[in-house]
């Protein structure tokens, strides 16, 4: 499969191959972008066009005001603010705590470390949905429903995936980094804060972006834990675009979900490198 590009003997065949390859790639890419493109189109149509059958491929008049209306039908900015607060709280805390724990697993040793690391890796495969439901019951008992405390606690307790990411990074740094500091009598806390953390901007930002997008995208935890006023944009976009009679307003919902998704796409495009590097480090183990 990788052979064709280098063989100089069959130039015409290579050109045909190339053409086929580009066509296949363009078609597949089109299919992959299709659902999102259709969402944008749906957000620009009138309710009548969306109810009509057979389908209206393009809006007769582009309804730009749908995006403004989507802002007004629900308290879009309020929900966006809730999403932002929760995502910032969680991403900041979980990045710091995971870096802290990752440092321990990368640079220190103690009896029982191997077992703990095994549990950590194993817990990466633990289905989150299974633990979430009983956790929800416990949070309800503790009166933490409809507060942001659950995200603080989740943030403080670090995430195995990110711990692993930091562990891989810290394990790759040279030994001399801490040796001089130890001779000077610095504690490991100081070594972590003063020497290792300032070195790890690429991983810190990757971790922050990953955690931020998790929280921004999470539907089920805010759906269970937060009331309709304090909930996140994900929940609001999914379930509050209805008329007072209860019929869904699909064109405004489509417009709203575009506005909900685009910030994440932009963050990804800006932070692409770290994001992908992080994914492949942990994916490969």
């Amino acid at each position: 499969m990788t052979a064709t590009s280098v063989t100089p003997t069959s130039a015409p065949r290579t050109r045909v191959n190339r053409l086929v390859l580009y066509t296949v790639l363009v078609v597949i890419t089109g299919l992959f972008l299709g659902p999102f493109g259709w969402l944008v189109l749906s957000g620009l149509k009138t309710p009548a066009e969306l109810a009509a059958s057979p389908v209206h491929w393009l809006p007769a008049h582009v309804q730009w005001h749908n995006f403004a209306d989507a802002f007004d039908l629900i308290d879009f900015l309020g929900y966006a603010r809730n999403s932002l607060i929760i995502a910032l709280i969680y991403a900041t805390l979980v990045t710091l705590s995971s870096a802290w724990v990752g440092f321990g697993f990368a640079r220190l040793s103690a009896p029982g470390k191997k077992t703990l690391f095994g549990i950590l890796l194993g817990s990466m495969m633990l289905p989150q949905m299974i633990t979430l439901l009983p956790t929800y019951l416990i949070f309800a008992k503790l009166g933490m429903v409809d507060t942001y405390w659950p995200w603080v606690l989740w943030g403080l307790s670090s995430a195995p995936y990110l711990v692993f990411l930091f562990r891989q990074f810290f394990a790759g740094l040279p030994r001399e980094l801490e040796e001089a500091a130890i001779v000077d009598g610095c504690g490991y806390g100081t070594i972590f804060w003063r020497i290792f953390l300032p070195q790890s901007w690429p991983v810190l930002s990757a971790s922050f972006v990953i955690a931020f997008t998790w929280t921004w995208g999470d539907y089920i935890a805010p759906q269970l834990l937060l009331s309709t006023d304090r909930t996140t944009l994900a929940v609001a976009v999914m379930s509050t675009y209805v008329t007072s009679a209860g019929t869904p307003v699909t064109n405004l919902q489509a417009a709203a979900s575009v506005m909900y998704v685009v910030p994440i796409l932009l963050i990804f495009l800006i932070a692409q490198r770290g994001f992908v590097a992080g994914m492949s480090t942990t994916g490969l183990k």
Binding site: F103, A110, G189, Y219, V237, M238, Y260, L284
Partner: protein
Amino acid sequence: MTVDQMSSVTRPSGSAQVAGRVWPRRRSSVAARRHRAFYMFASPWIAGFALLTVAPMSYALWLSFTTYDGISPNWHYVGLGNYRELFSDAQTWDSLGRTGLFAITSVPLSIVAGLVLAVLVNRPIRARGLFRTLLYLPAVVPPVGAGIAFKQLFDQNSGAANGVLNLFGIDALGWLADPYARYVLIMTVLWTAGNIMIISLAGLQDIPREVLEAARIDGASAWRSFRSITLPLLSPVLLFQTVTGVIASVQTIMPLLLAPDPTPAGITALPQSNYLYMMHVFAQYFAFGRYGYASALLWVLFVLILVATGLIFKSTSGVVFYNVDPEAKK
């Protein structure tokens, strides 16, 4: 099970303190300091794991032996009653079967799709960075966005899918209802194959060029060298993808996001073909408030996942090829 996990979490920290005290102070003060420091650094995760994973799971285990519903004050212990009911509940078996079918179809399909995409965008072509980005983009779209997009795409009246069918003179299908909803669900998984593409791509790029060169000089066809060199070297990545894929498909909430009423209470209105096991759990929790019974369902699922993961690792241990021992790195 949970008791074991708990003790294995707490025991090492205890033994470390003991070790620090027993050893001669001078010689090992540095080592003891390192041990204490390790537990200081690991403590957020240990505490979080104990309080936010082990404790809820233990709580669920306890609830699974009761009739607790969160409201009624006179709930009581029923022993294995919930588990007995679970085994005779037709919905449990049906939803479990659907979940298995969903995992068995969607996981291999998306891995093959991701692998094919990775091979395509690994070729030396123009704008391949752009192709990679665009193909990966859907994997970044949050599930809620994906759910709404697919609901629009497969809407009976205004969906593009039926629009295309109409061009070929085929009648509109009720994609989001039985029996087609399951295919839409699988398509939502395939849509995020860019995830697998990126990880496989990293694996492809780790394959030494010389090995593939040598194979070509020896006259191996492209397909042969893919099968005999690329695939074995990628097998750890593919195994990892299989395991995470199975776990993701067991806990997916996409059926809910594709439903007309996407709140946990609306679960009972789900099309049967998307009523997966996790949805059954949600229905018992939130539509019927049967926390005890739902907890029993959760625990059965948990054990099944452990068994399935174990089986996947066991059955592939002879097939998966590790180039480097992952533990040797440190």
